[in-house]
């Protein structure tokens, strides 16, 4: 028994020292909620610490989970900056008055699409990267089936792709919602739902996570996976036999965003992070972390593997309209009723 007691004693002492707050830094502290992949979050925070001497505490969670947490904490916010993750939840947070307006002096260095998003949200959020929607297919599986390579949205609704397409569920994934909104904008609402009903017969699974179909296409679990193209690039760089497609009818895109949380305890440090994250140097870190999105700073280098927007026919995505909660609920509920409920 004495051994146990000593063991627990040691653990207890260790835990006590761990719960003591870290030594306060002269430059102050900052808490960041990070919603991109871990490999990107960590070097970003380390680089910011080196650049400013501000100590960063960072939590990585998906954007949906982060929004939930910010909502739950709204009476007494714990985080200062929410960095990364698809734009819709950021815009939702802005609408719910969970984030605050901030006009960074570095806005001038950004691509027009990023500035437009900031204007549309009353400068409560700003774009830090963009990624086009599209799909990837597994070349090995395609060759095995002797199907012609798909190029457009329309191809995926063809009978030879029966049970071979995977996409996320818009109820749980922002990626899938972006697809719904994109198709409605490309085709018009009625034809888009006509198309979705046809596509529904070819879907093998509605996944919960937006990036999962890219993985499924990479392993051959599914022939085609509809995702943001940068997720598919990650798989290709890792050696998976996948080909990327920016559909010929045109496609939408997400703007990965950043917001300052209302009531941030370290407002000054939060603003410094905000300014710094918009610089070309900070955005260059993405490529090193195997994140192949397009940076929002015009001077930031574009990773050579990134799907260039010039080769992808992008539509003029109306973030203001499709980011609104009522519009989102209406479209998702209609999809649920008319598409999801149908037979496959």
């Amino acid at each position: 028994m004495s051994t146990t007691r000593r063991l627990f004693g040691a653990l207890f002492a260790g835990a006590l020292t761990a719960t003591l707050p870290g030594a306060a830094s002269a430059q102050g502290n900052l808490t960041v909620y990070c919603s991109v992949q871990e490999e990107w979050c960590r070097p970003m925070m380390a680089a910011f610490e080196r650049a400013t001497g501000i100590r960063v505490a960072m939590t990585r969670k998906s954007s949906g989970e982060t929004l939930t947490q910010i909502r739950a904490e709204s009476a007494n916010p714990r985080g200062d900056v929410w960095w990364g993750g698809t734009g819709d939840p950021h815009m939702q947070a802005g609408q719910e008055n969970l984030t605050v307006e901030y006009r960074s002096p570095n806005l001038a260095q950004l691509h027009p699409w990023a500035v437009r998003q900031a204007e549309q949200t009353g400068f409560r959020t700003v774009g830090i990267y963009a990624g086009a929607l599209g799909y990837s297919y597994n070349t090995t599986e395609l060759a095995r089936r002797r199907i012609a390579a798909p190029r457009c949205w329309a191809d995926l609704a063809k009978p030879e792709f029966r049970g071979e397409v995977q996409v996320a569920d818009p109820n749980t994934s922002g990626t899938a919602y972006t697809m719904l909104a994109t198709l409605v904008q490309v085709m018009g609402e009625e034809p888009a739902f006509e198309y979705l009903r046809a596509l529904h017969r070819n879907i093998n699974q509605y996944t919960r996570s937006g990036a999962a179909p890219a993985r499924a296409a990479a392993t051959g679990e599914s022939l085609v996976g509809i995702t943001f193209l940068h997720d598919a690039v990650t798989q290709r760089v890792n050696g998976a036999p996948v080909e990327l497609v920016g559909p010929c009818e045109g496609t939408g895109y997400e703007i990965g965003s950043m917001s300052i949380i209302r009531g941030a305890r370290n407002m000054e440090q939060a603003r410094r992070f905000f300014d710094w994250a918009l610089t070309a140097e900070a955005q260059a870190l993405g490529a090193e972390a195997k994140a192949y999105q397009l940076p929002s700073n015009r001077n930031a280098p574009i990773p050579p593997q990134a799907p260039r927007f010039e080769n992808v026919p992008l539509i003029d995505y109306d973030f203001a309209r499709w980011g609104r909660a009522e519009e989102r609920n209406r479209i998702i509920q209609r999809w649920e009723r008319e598409v999801r409920a149908g037979a496959r």
């Binding site: 719960t19 505490a57 989970e65 947490q69 109820n171």
Partner: protein, 738 residues
């Protein structure tokens, strides 16, 4: 302990909190103490004198009123009771009424005006609250409640207070959301939500559409329970009656589900049976069996849950089968019954309660499971995942989540009620005080063959799954079949560098160290409080005993996601502000795993005869002395089991803590969820392997330290084993993957 001495100790404690300790929580840590007795760490007395907290004067007055008679050596019952209760109610009510933004309860404005903001309660308040509980208990004991034992009164009042704050209050907070539509009070919304077709639709019977999520959940839970009980039974029959030498191997297998982190089994199943999985590809190459995605959906989730539950069922049934005295069976065969008939008409009926227990445990575990449906569910949705996505998904709707949580809660409580009904009425005692002799009847040949046909393939399957897990962390990409050896994943997670001492560079170190610390801190509190409550419930007689027992069991029935969100909602704002600390994680684990400690304690206490208590009491020992000198030493195995169980459970819980982790305190499982989301299965599997080894080390170490619990057998031969289940039952029902 008498009422007067408890009252005096409580008074001391309250005075300490009132005069010395900082009343409010310290945001900046120990460094802020320098400003004492002014500034942030000011004690309540200083705050009262300066008028900054004038609304708390009644607290000081009540302490004073209680002090006068106590110092004169009297313990007036009504006065103490009222003073104690008054202090607690006043502090908490004022904490709710005046928050961070000043006055929160606007209807009090005429009385309170516009008070300054009031941050969360700190050490001073904690001591005053403890003292107040002591005064309350002293008052109650002076009235003659709790056998006039003031210490028992204090323990009951204290644990009831804790349960109210950490189980009942968060639950109420979130269930309130079910009757609100946005900010509008709408009881009719609850009815609509509870009867929504999303939950109850029967469309799948008539068309291709999916059925309501309640039916899905029930179907999955029933299938999991039936199949895992059946497999467990086959294993148990073969181990106890089949004369196989591999029985120790079976028992070793029972440890696996306990120490397996969530998601990892599901990932291994995909690697094996996914459309490009190893087994699928082999079958396709050799036998031209077409590849399909059958694993995503009901079959996959079912398989993963049965993998976790079958060993538990085995553990239960193995114990029950061993406890059946052979004499009855011998009697039957002496009277000329054939072997199969003996089995059918004697052995089988005696196994029934254990079968029911295994079935219900599998049922409840399946309801609570979150990890497996998340990874393998495909289009097949169950309540636990639906609740999660109603809260964290693209369509945020806390009201819907709360209503679904109510449905899940109802299912779980229903299962428990059924179990109580089933087992409460019958007795299946076969062990008597007379020494047993005779040999258990061997299995009928046909049955033995059936058992072998199920058991050996299932063993092979288990080995394959865990083999994939073991290998997966050390090859490039097990999912794509790239099986070349690499340290890459382990290095990413656990790289260590020598730079003026050890520098932990790996990305998983933070979460791993926090997880171990939190688990190690939560374990002793879970075991301690659990055993204490078990002792109070089974050995002390007081009013409200049933309510106390129900409250301890309640947290077992609440789904993890609901617990997590309710904790954030309840403890993010004053008066009790805990989010972002390691404490909230520890508290969450303690109260979530508490039922296990209590159940284990109750089972162990049932085997210790009351005559021992009575003997101790006759010789003049008080209740506390008896507990310390007689009961606790006898309960050592139960304590150790509770310790090991709560440690391991804290390391594998995910749904409850996913919203509670913070930047400084991240947990291993939440880190793994992130890896799975990003599709980095190899890293997730590598991390899981490390966790498995740590937990294996802890569980085996503890077992080595104390030896396996043998106390059950002793009690059995003393002829007090009721039902045949208590002895073999694991004192720890587990919550796989939750």
């Amino acid at each position: 302990m008498g009422a007067l001495s408890l009252g005096r100790v409580a008074l001391l404690c309250a005075t300490l909190g009132l005069l010395l300790l900082p009343w409010h929580g310290l945001e900046g840590g120990v460094a802020e103490l320098a400003a004492w007795p002014g500034g942030a760490p000011a004690p309540l007395l200083a705050l009262l004198v300066t008028g900054a907290r004038w609304w708390l004067w009644p607290v000081a007055l009540l302490v004073g009123v209680a002090a006068l008679p106590l110092l004169r050596g009297r313990a007036p019952r009504t006065l103490l009771t009222l003073a104690g209760a008054g202090i607690i109610v006043w502090i908490l009510a004022m904490g709710e009424a005046i928050g961070l933004r000043g006055l929160e309860w606007q209807w009090l404005a005429p009385l309170l005006g516009a008070p300054p903001p009031q941050p969360s309660l700190g050490w001073g308040a904690l001591f005053v609250l403890i003292g107040a509980t002591g005064l309350l208990a002293a008052g109650l004991a002076a009235r003659g409640a709790f056998g006039a034992d003031a210490f028992i009164a204090f323990l009951v009042a204290g644990s009831a207070f804790l349960l109210l704050v950490f189980v009942f209050a968060p639950l109420t907070t979130i269930l309130m959301a079910a009757i609100y539509d946005g900010d509008r009070f709408a009881p009719d919304a609850l009815a609509t939500r509870l009867t929504a077709p999303e939950a109850w639709s029967l469309a799948c019977l008539a068309s291709h559409q999916g059925c309501g999520v309640v039916w899905n959940t029930l179907l999955l839970a029933t299938l999991t329970a039936v199949i895992s009980t059946a497999i467990g039974l086959f294993f148990a029959l073969l181990a106890v009656r089949g004369g196989v030498r591999a029985a120790p191997l079976f028992r070793a297998m029972t440890i696996l589900p306990l120490i397996t982190p969530p998601f990892v089994v599901a990932m291994a199943l995909i690697v094996l049976f996914g459309r490009t999985g190893m087994v699928t590809t082999a079958l396709w190459d050799w036998f031209d069996i077409p590849r399909s995605r059958w694993i995503y959906g009901l079959p996959g989730v079912l398989l993963a849950q049965v993998l976790a539950q079958a060993p538990i069922a085995f553990l239960l049934l193995d114990g029950a089968l061993r406890a059946i005295s052979p004499s009855l069976e011998e009697a039957a065969s002496t009277m000329g019954a054939r072997r199969f008939r003996v089995f059918r008409s004697v052995t089988w009926p005696l196994l029934k309660p254990a079968l029911a227990a295994a079935f219900l445990l599998g049922f409840v575990e399946s309801l609570a499971d979150f990890g497996n449906p998340l990874v393998l569910g495909g289009d097949f949705d169950v309540l636990s995942t639906r609740i999660f996505f109603a809260i964290a998904g693209a369509r945020h709707d806390p009201g819907r989540a709360a209503a679904l949580a109510l449905l899940l809660l109802a299912l779980t409580l229903g299962a428990f009620a059924l179990q109580a009904l089933w087992l409460g009425r019958r007795r299946y005692t076969t062990m008597t005080g007379k020494g047993d002799s005779g040999l258990p009847a061997p299995l009928p040949a046909g049955l033995r063959l059936t058992c072998s046909l199920v058991v050996w393939p299932w063993m092979l399957f288990t080995v394959a799954v865990y083999g994939v897990i073991l290998v997966g962390g050390f090859v490039h990409d097990v999912g794509r079949g790239d099986m070349s050896f690499t340290w890459r994943h382990i290095l990413t997670a656990f790289e260590v560098e020598w730079m003026d001492g050890i520098a932990l560079r790996g990305s998983a170190w933070d979460s791993l160290l926090t997880t171990i610390q939190v688990a190690a801190l939560a374990a002793p509190f879970t075991a301690g409080l659990g055993i204490l409550l078990a002792w109070l419930i089974s050995r002390q007689d007081f009013r409200g005993r049933r309510t106390l027992e129900f409250m301890t069991m309640l947290s077992f029935a609440i789904p993890g996601t609901v617990v997590g969100v309710s904790y954030v909602m309840a403890f993010n704002v004053p008066p009790i502000e805990l989010t972002g600390t390691a404490l909230i994680l520890i508290l969450c684990f303690v109260f979530r795993n508490l039922p296990v400690g209590v159940r284990g304690g109750l089972a162990a206490l049932a085997q210790i005869d009351r005559s021992l208590d009575e003997a101790s009491a006759t010789m003049g020992a008080g209740a506390v002395d008896t507990l310390r000198r007689v009961i606790l030493p006898l309960m050592r195995p139960a304590i150790i089991t509770a310790l090991a169980y709560s440690f391991v459970q804290a390391m594998t819980a995910v749904s409850a803590v996913i919203f509670l982790v913070s930047a400084r305190h991240n947990l291993a499982t939440v880190y793994i969820v992130g890896r799975v989301e990003a599709g980095e299965m190899a890293l997730a599997i590598a991390y899981s392997t490390v966790l498995i080894f740590i937990m294996l080390f802890v569980v085996l170490g503890i077992e080595k330290l104390v030896g396996r619990a043998r106390i059950g057998r002793r009690a059995a031969t003393e002829g007090r084993l009721a039902g045949g289940i208590t002895a073999g039952a694991p004192t720890a029902p587990m919550r796989a993957g939750a």
